[in-house]
C-alpha cells in the first residue's frame, strides 16, 4: 500500500502538475465544443435547455477520449511500464491507482467546470444538480472502462482513432442514463433510478476493470 502511494500516486501527481498545460487541453476542447452548439443550432433558450444535457455529456465523452490517451502512453514508451510490472506489486492495483490519479486530474476539473457549462446552455438549478451528480458518478466509469481500451491500444503507433471506435459504443448506456437523469430533473421528476443504475455500472467496473486493464497491459508488453 505504501509503495503504491509513494511510488505511483505521488509520482503521477507530480507529473500531472508538471504537465498542467497538457491536462488543460481536453477541458478547453470541451468548452469549445459546447460553444459550437448554440452557434450551430441557434441560441434559443428553450432549445438549448432541451439539448443541453445531451450536448454536455457527448462533449464530455469526446474530450475524455482525448484525455484518456495519455494515461499509459508515456509509461509505455519510456519503459516505466516494464519496471512497474517487475516491481512485484500487483499490476491491477497499480493500474487502479493510475486511473484514480488520472480521474482526479482530468475529470474532477470537469465537474468544477460544469456550472459554467450549465450557464452556457441555460440549464435550471435542478438540472445542474443532476448533471453534477451524473458527472461525479459517470466519469469514473469512463476512466475505468476507457483505461482497458487504452491498455490495449497503447503499443500501437496510431491508436487514437481506434480508441474512439472501441469506446464510443461502450459508452452509449452511460450517455442514455445520464442524460435521462438530467431530463427527469428538468421535469421535476425523481431520477434516483438512473443514478442507481450508473452507480451499479460503476461498481461493476471498479470490481472488474483493474484486472482487465492489467491483462491488457500485459498483452501490450508482449
Amino acid at each position: 500500500m505504501n509503495t503504491l502511494i509513494n511510488g505511483i500516486f505521488k509520482r503521477d501527481m507530480a507529473l500531472a502538475f508538471r504537465q498542467r498545460s497538457e491536462l488543460a487541453q481536453p477541458l478547453m476542447f470541451l468548452l469549445m465544443v459546447i460553444t459550437l452548439f448554440p452557434l450551430g443550432i441557434g441560441p434559443g433558450p428553450v432549445t438549448l435547455q432541451k439539448i443541453g444535457p445531451g450536448v454536455i455529456w457527448i462533449a464530455a465523452i469526446l474530450s475524455s477520449l482525448l484525455a484518456m490517451e495519455r494515461l499509459f502512453r508515456d509509461d509505455f514508451w519510456d519503459g516505466s511500464l516494464e519496471q512497474y510490472m517487475l516491481s512485484g506489486q500487483s499490476v491491477a492495483a497499480i493500474a487502479a491507482v493510475k486511473v484514480l490519479v488520472h480521474w482526479l486530474v482530468s475529470f474532477l476539473p470537469l465537474a468544477l467546470f460544469s456550472p459554467l457549462l450549465a450557464l452556457f446552455l441555460n440549464l435550471t438549478v435542478d438540472m445542474y444538480i443532476a448533471l453534477m451528480l451524473t458527472l461525479l458518478l459517470g466519469t469514473p466509469l469512463l476512466s475505468l472502462v476507457g483505461a482497458i481500451a487504452v491498455g490495449l491500444t497503447v503499443g500501437l503507433q496510431r491508436g487514437g482513432v481506434l480508441l474512439a471506435l472501441l469506446l464510443i459504443p461502450v459508452f452509449i448506456p452511460l450517455l442514455i442514463f445520464a442524460t435521462s437523469a438530467v431530463d427527469s430533473a428538468a421535469l421535476q421528476l425523481p431520477y434516483r433510478a438512473q443514478l442507481a443504475i450508473i452507480g451499479a455500472m460503476l461498481m461493476l467496473a471498479m470490481a472488474s476493470a483493474p484486472f482487465a486493464i492489467a491483462y491488457a497491459l500485459k498483452v501490450s508488453q508482449n
Binding site: 516494464e82 519496471q83 512485484g88
Partner: protein, 209 residues
Amino acid sequence: MAGLAADNLTCIKRDRVLFTDLSFCLSPGQLIYLRGPNGAGKTSLLRILTGLSAPESGQLMLNEEPLDKVRDRFNQQLIYVGHKAGINGALTAMENLRFWCAQHSTDFNAQQAYEVLARLGLVGLEDVPVRMLSAGQQRRVALSRLWLKQAIYWILDEPFTALDTDGIELLETHMREHVANQGAIITTSHQPLSKHAGPFTELALEYRL
C-alpha cells in the same frame, strides 16, 4: 542447480522462429554474456527471462521451482534495465530514483542516492528534469538502480549503449564486484566485454530464418 534455469525455451515472434529448445542456467556468481547478431532474439530472450513476455514453449525454474510460482520472490531479487530506460523525462533524476525505489519496495536514502549519482558523474544534475540530460547521462541515471537496490539477478539489455569509455569501465567494474558477491548477471552488448568485467560465460544466439 541453484539459480535461474531456462528449460527448452522456444520463442516465435511474428511467425519467425527466433530460437528453439534453448536451455541454460544462470547461477549466483556467474556472468553470462549473451551474444548474437541483430534480430537473433537477444532482447526477446531477456524479456522472457524477466517474465515480461511468455515463451512459445518451455519453462523457467528458479532454484528448482517453477518461476510462475515464485514470481514475487524473483521480482524482489531482480533488476532489469531494458532498451527503454524506464526514466520519465519530466521528472528529475532524484525523483525518478525515489519513485522507482518506492515501487520496488526498496528503502530510499537521499544521501545514498546523491552519492551514487556522484559516482556516476552526475553531480549537479540531480535536480534537473531528465529530458535535459544527454543520452549517456540518462543511461547513467537508469543504471544507478544497480547501486541502489540489493538484488541477486541483473538482467541487462545493451547497458553500455550511449555510455562513454569511463562509464563502460565503471559499469564493468561494478558488474565484476557484483558477481564476486554471489550476484548473477546476464547481459547483451554490441562490443565485447573487456577485462574489467571479469570472467564470463558466453551464450551465443544465431540469426535463423
